[in-house]
């Protein structure tokens, strides 16, 4: 551990940290396009360590897979519980606990369970465990967070000792892909029946490279190496990973710089990112990601319900400035909601379609022309932002300035943090709100996973965007990749040209590791893949 005695420099930094990210009111005149080197791997470890300390952005609410659909929960769970399929660090889907996934009829998925896999307690994995784990999503009282992928499931049954058959109400390719996320995570049958599964007292029983060790509520969660793990290629290098729960960003950055914590994933650039980048005791890696920053549309009437107005605003935006001002230069501008990382099949088709779309760069002249065509509306557009969130505040200021330059009146409505979540779930909370900001991510490498939000009657189709409903249904039922890619690019075309939601910037994974460790997965699949298995000493 290197310590530097620089209290004076420390004071200056502290004062800078209190000021938060530098506020630039003047957006730079079209910054150069952001070229980022995004990774999917880090240098392999030379040897394992006895203990690695890792920070989570907050304490997991639970490790119950059916309610693990958020950063801290999945970061920990991904090392312990494996799914039927596996999402690899470079965004491909491979067999996992299922050796084979077959689709004998459009509405059935048959999973052949891998032989020779044991739970941490030594009991073999069978179809009974898989069926019990999947069935938990079908019980409304258990409150799965993965209902988007299970809404089409009619029944799950063990159709053989090592075979599970899932019957769907309608054909759905996304269901099968979701089996590569925590939605397809398998716990033992005995644990699946536990009321307190995934709590500090209840614990877990899975098959992954790390076992649930001890969870001291409020303090730490330890996971320990499973020496009997079936997949030798992914066997854990280090003996123990201890997760801490430092929620305060400044404190987390301090703990990383002092070496008390070896690493952390950030889903948004912390205010102290510059300090981490300049740290002499560790380094920052940016990883490929499925996460993006977007302006969600909620307007069913008024100017923002007019696609031409949305196009005008989108064209007038300087996304490079957003990257620079709001995300400290980490977030590449995007022209579509689902970026290149989503192209898990038929890459050429997606790439061609992407090139044909309007670029993500600014075009003020064209924007003004579009606004005139839309009848130069005078009614203001209301954008809701989350209180005390710098990303929201700064992006909103940029958009407001852009609107003024165009001749669009934009009003900002601040919603307190604890009520912001209601915008997603409660139509009443969205009254009088035309648009609101959000980070968003799909879970699997298929752009369709993002565009399904525009299904008619979908809970997140806030503005009731109607144009792609039929195509989404067709695409979800289309097993042939080429035919599906054709449908999905068509959907993407409409959604993008109408600016159903406004794509802004891609948000890479920000991984910090101390010089003591290396080998963590820096890309988005860390949420579902045993990213700590390769973690060890340089």
């Amino acid at each position: 551990m290197i310590r530097r005695a620089v209290p004076l420099a420390g004071l200056a930094l502290a004062l800078a940290a209190c000021g938060g990210a530098p506020q630039q009111q003047q957006a730079p005149a079209s910054a150069a396009p952001v070229a980022l080197d995004l990774k999917t791997s880090t240098a392999a470890a030379a040897k394992g360590l006895d203990r690695v300390t890792w920070n989570l952005p907050y304490e997991p609410q639970t490790l119950d897979p059916i309610r693990s659909f958020n950063y801290a929960e999945n970061t920990a769970l991904a090392n312990m519980c494996e799914s039927l399929l596996r999402l690899t660090p470079d965004f491909t889907i491979e067999p996992g606990l299922a050796e084979k996934a077959e689709n004998p009829t459009p509405t059935t998925w048959v999973y052949t369970i891998r032989e020779g896999v044991t739970f941490w307690d030594g009991k073999p994995l069978t179809a009974q465990d898989v069926a019990a784990s999947l069935k938990r999503h079908l019980d409304p009282a258990l409150g799965t967070w993965w209902s988007d992928y299970f809404s089409t499931v009619e029944k799950v049954e063990a159709s053989g000792p090592m075979q599970v058959t899932v019957t769907l109400k309608q054909a759905d390719v996304l269901f099968n892909q979701a089996m590569a996320t925590a939605a397809g995570a398998i716990v033992s049958k005995e644990y699946a029946a536990k009321k307190d599964l995934g709590s500090p007292t209840g614990g877990l029983m899975c098959t992954g490279p790390f076992e649930f060790g001890a969870w001291k509520s409020g303090d730490s969660l330890a996971i320990v190496r499973n020496d009997a793990y079936w997949d030798k290629a992914l066997a854990a290098r280090s003996k123990e990973i201890v997760f801490r729960f430092i929620a305060d960003e400044t404190t987390a950055v301090n703990a990383l710089r002092s070496g008390e914590v070896d690493g952390q994933y950030f889903y948004l650039p912390p205010a102290g990112l510059a300090q981490l980048r300049e740290s002499t005791t560790g380094s920052v890696t940016l990883g490929k990601s499925l996460t993006f920053w977007t302006l969600l549309s909620a307007a069913k009437d008024g100017p923002y319900a007019d696609p031409k107005v949305r196009q005008a605003l989108s064209l007038a935006l300087d996304r490079a400035a957003i990257s620079k001002v709001v995300f400290q230069g980490t977030a590449a501008p995007q022209r579509t909601l689902a970026g290149a990382e989503y192209w898990g099949y038929e890459r050429a088709t997606f790439e061609q379609a992407y090139r044909a779309l309007p670029p993500e760069t600014q075009d003020l002249a064209k924007a003004k022309q579009l606004l005139t065509e839309a009848g130069s509306p005078t009614e203001p557009i209301t954008i809701a932002i989350q209180g005390s969130a710098a990303t929201h505040d700064q992006t909103a200021n940029l958009i407001k300035a852009t609107g003024e330059a165009l001749g669009l009146k934009i009003e900002i409505k601040v919603v307190p943090v604890e009520q912001y979540g209601n915008l997603y779930s409660d139509p009443k909370a969205r009254e009088g709100v035309d648009a609101f900001f959000s980070t968003w991510y799909g879970n699997v490498p298929d752009p369709l996973d993002i565009y399904t939000v525009f299904q008619a009657g979908g809970r997140t189709n806030f503005n009731g965007y109607p144009a792609v409903d039929a195509d989404i249904k067709k695409a979800r039922a289309e097993a042939d990749p080429a035919a599906r890619a054709a449908l999905v690019t068509g959907i993407q075309d409409k959604v993008t040209r109408d600016v159903a939601w406004m794509p802004l910037n891609n948000l890479p994974v920000i991984l910090y590791m101390s010089d003591r460790v290396t080998g963590a997965v820096p890309s988005f699949p860390y949420l579902y893949y045993p990213w700590a298995a390769g973690l060890g000493a340089k």
């Binding site: 551990m1 310590r3 530097r4 005695a5 620089v6 209290p7 420099a9 420390g10 004071l11 930094l13 502290a14 940290a17 209190c18 609410q61 639970t62 309610r67 659909f69 958020n70 409304p140 009282a141 409150g143 799965t144 967070w145 993965w146 209902s147 988007d148 809404s151 009321k195 307190d196 709590s199 500090p200 007292t201 001291k216 509520s217 409020g218 303090d219 801490r244 729960f245 430092i246 929620a247 305060d248 400044t250 404190t251 987390a252 301090n254 703990a255 710089r257 002092s258 008390e260 943090v417 604890e418 009520q419 979540g421 209601n422 997603y424 779930s425 809970r459 997140t460």
Partner: protein
């Protein structure tokens, strides 16, 4: 004895009122725990209905409060909505950290504040001025600024103390809690120093002190017998009130130093509308508050028999 019984009856009434008030307030605040039970992106109507029924979220207010009260009287404080764990377990593991932090800070406040106050009051002159300036500085700086500065200088910069966490075992815990306790105590210590100084000054100018001086008693004897004894009454009051205030102040400090105390749990529970946790923490805090006040009163009667009735 009668005095104690009276106080305990009073405590019960206060607890009942506080629990009703907090329950009612939480009930009135917009936004429920649903978002935390289902996440922002999911929740079919059937799911929402099932969960509302499971947690009795649709029962009328009074019914919910009374059923909570009934359970609480039998010692069952329910379980957390969000964490699905027994409240007793969640709180139990966190009480130790907060109690230790508050005791540590109290010791620092009492020792530091009273020593500074006596020094300023008895010495006067330049010492008095210097202590006055210092205490103004401590009083004016918000605890989160002090905490961040201490962490940057003494933890990250010099590496003398850990940046975060509560530690394990008593010595390690005290070591971990040093910076948080200093953060928590500076403002209160400064306040106590001022109060001590003022009451020492006041006592020094009293008639009986003048008389004692005229009679030729030694200064040390006068200070001990006449000044300190009488000056200590306001000091005890302020210390007692301060400890109660520390419990609230610990929320900020626990956040800065990532300590798993009651404060951080409490704030999160309020944000997540986790009724059971909020209620239980409030009861613990109110009880602590009342007991500390009782302790202060007992100290009074020890110091000045005339005050006890």
């Amino acid at each position: 004895m009668r005095f104690l019984l009276k106080r305990l009856a009073g405590l019960a009434v206060v607890l009942l009122a506080a629990s009703f008030l907090v329950y009612g307030l939480l009930y009135l605040v917009p936004g429920g725990p649903m978002a935390f039970l289902l996440g922002n992106r999911s929740g079919t109507p059937e799911q929402i209905a099932a969960i509302r029924a499971q947690y009795h979220l649709d029962d009328p207010f009074l019914l919910r409060y009374l059923s909570w009260l009934g359970d609480a009287l039998t010692g069952d404080f329910g379980s957390s909505l969000v964490y699905r764990q027994e409240v007793a377990a969640l709180i139990g593991s966190r009480v130790a950290t907060t109690v230790l932090l508050v005791i540590y800070a109290t010791v620092l406040i009492s020792a530091g504040g009273i020593a500074m106050g006596l020094l300023a009051g008895l010495r006067g002159g330049r010492v008095d001025t210097a202590i006055g300036v210092l205490s103004s500085l401590f009083l004016a700086t918000p605890p989160f600024v002090i905490g961040v500065l201490l962490a940057i200088v003494f933890a990250v910069g010099l590496g003398w103390f850990p940046v975060f966490g509560p530690g394990e075992g008593l010595l390690d815990r005290l070591y971990h809690l040093t910076l948080p306790a200093i953060t928590l105590s500076l403002a209160s210590a400064a306040f106590l120093a001022r109060i001590t100084r003022a009451s020492v000054r006041e006592e020094l100018n009293r008639e009986h002190v003048e008389t004692a001086r005229a009679r030729g008693f030694a200064e040390r004897h006068i200070v001990r017998r006449h000044v300190l004894r009488n000056a200590s009454i306001p000091v005890v009051t302020v210390t007692g009130l301060n400890i109660a205030g520390l419990i609230a102040g610990s929320v900020v400090v626990e956040n800065i130093f990532a300590l798993d105390g009651l404060g951080s749990l409490f704030v999160r529970a309020i944000l997540q509308r986790d009724f059971a946790i909020v209620q239980a923490v409030v009861l613990v805090l109110v009880t602590a508050f009342v007991l500390i006040n009782l302790l202060v009163d007992l100290c009074y009667s020890a110091l000045d028999p005339r005050l006890s009735r």
